[in-house]
Symmetry: C2
Subunit: 208 residues, 2 copies
């Protein structure tokens, strides 16, 4: 069995997909799924699915497939989705509000706990039940709420400032949705989600 | 020199990053950049940068680095960013509106040309100057405007329907921001942007 701590990121992304598919199967009352059914649900090949799981010592049974509940719990353990991950969202613009209201986050046990913006007109309003607070209070509030995860949906020009404030408040994991590069101390981690780059990747394949 | 048509997706994503950095350097009037400066700007290692470019026969000059304008034009050619890519956006909710207004899309020569929604209250309103049109008209309007690219920002439950309508209207490239799996004919391509999965990937690294 491979060491969980060194799972490559593309594998983690696929595990997140399987986790979602298995949750949907549970809701439908499905108890077993085979790799061909997984392929039909999510478009990842049956061979890739089997290979990914074999790294963790998980094997389907011939003719039966995989036990949905058991496999889902196993993936939750690998991805640390077996605990609630409370996070702060910095930036309550369109993207921030879209994220705050996105139902898919609950699937991954992420819980929006605080929401910040610098715009005085927005402060005090609520998005999905969470009040928008003044960004000046980020360090204190994050420390008070013991939040270690910050998600940045501010304009790129404010990304570094937002990240610095979050880290001052004790954040160690930053999910950066801005196009800016953010510098953090050694003991912190940033993951950049640059979805506009996906347009450039797509463009490469466009023939006309 | 490698064949451009088989560039791995992680390389394409990094090329998109270099392209952005080089554009910013041009705006600042910088004529040359070396790989260490690229690393400082975007966090991708100098060694990785040199390796990526060497696949395309691009070499920096010792002591001078890379010519910003020339390298940017070369990457634009590889990524097909040397032409305008007009696209339709289906779904004018928060995420759709965030994308419609996102300044970064212009950096990659993507031009929002039509915007659709099923919500009668939204139809006729404008986002970033583009009028929201009735989703019932997708096939006709996409054909009329000769749009081959559709970006889906509808709820997951409507993704297949939106994709089918776009393909009926001549779309061949789909960028799917919904959590749903979308099935398309053989001659079409879908890229899934499941940004919530990035939360799950992050969670794997969270220790407490």
């Amino acid at each position: 069995m491979a060491d969980d701590s060194r799972v490559p990121i593309p594998t983690l992304t696929r595990l997140a997909t399987y986790y979602k598919i298995l949750g949907e199967a549970q809701v439908r009352g499905v108890h077993n799924l085979n790799s061909a059914q997984i392929e039909a649900e999510c478009g990842i090949s049956a061979a890739q699915f089997r290979k990914d799981l074999s790294h963790f010592g998980e094997m389907g049974k011939p003719g039966v497939g995989y036990e949905v509940a058991k496999l889902r719990a196993r993936i939750a353990t690998i991805l640390h989705l077996d605990r609630t991950q409370r996070f702060a969202l910095i930036g309550a613009g369109r993207l921030g509000q879209a994220l705050a209201a996105y139902p898919g986050l609950n699937d991954y046990s992420f819980e929006l706990t605080a929401l910040f913006d610098t715009d005085k007109k927005k402060i005090g309003r609520r998005v999905n039940g969470i009040e928008i607070e003044d960004a000046d209070g980020i360090p204190n509030r994050m420390r008070e709420l013991n939040l270690k995860i910050a998600v940045l949906t501010v304009p790129g020009s404010e990304a570094q400032k937002a990240s610095d404030a979050a880290i001052k408040g004790g954040a160690r994991w930053i999910l950066n949705f801005t196009p800016a590069h953010v510098r953090v101390p050694e003991n912190c981690m940033v993951r950049d989600i640059v979805f506009t780059q996906e347009f450039a990747v797509l463009a490469h394949y466009i023939e006309e």
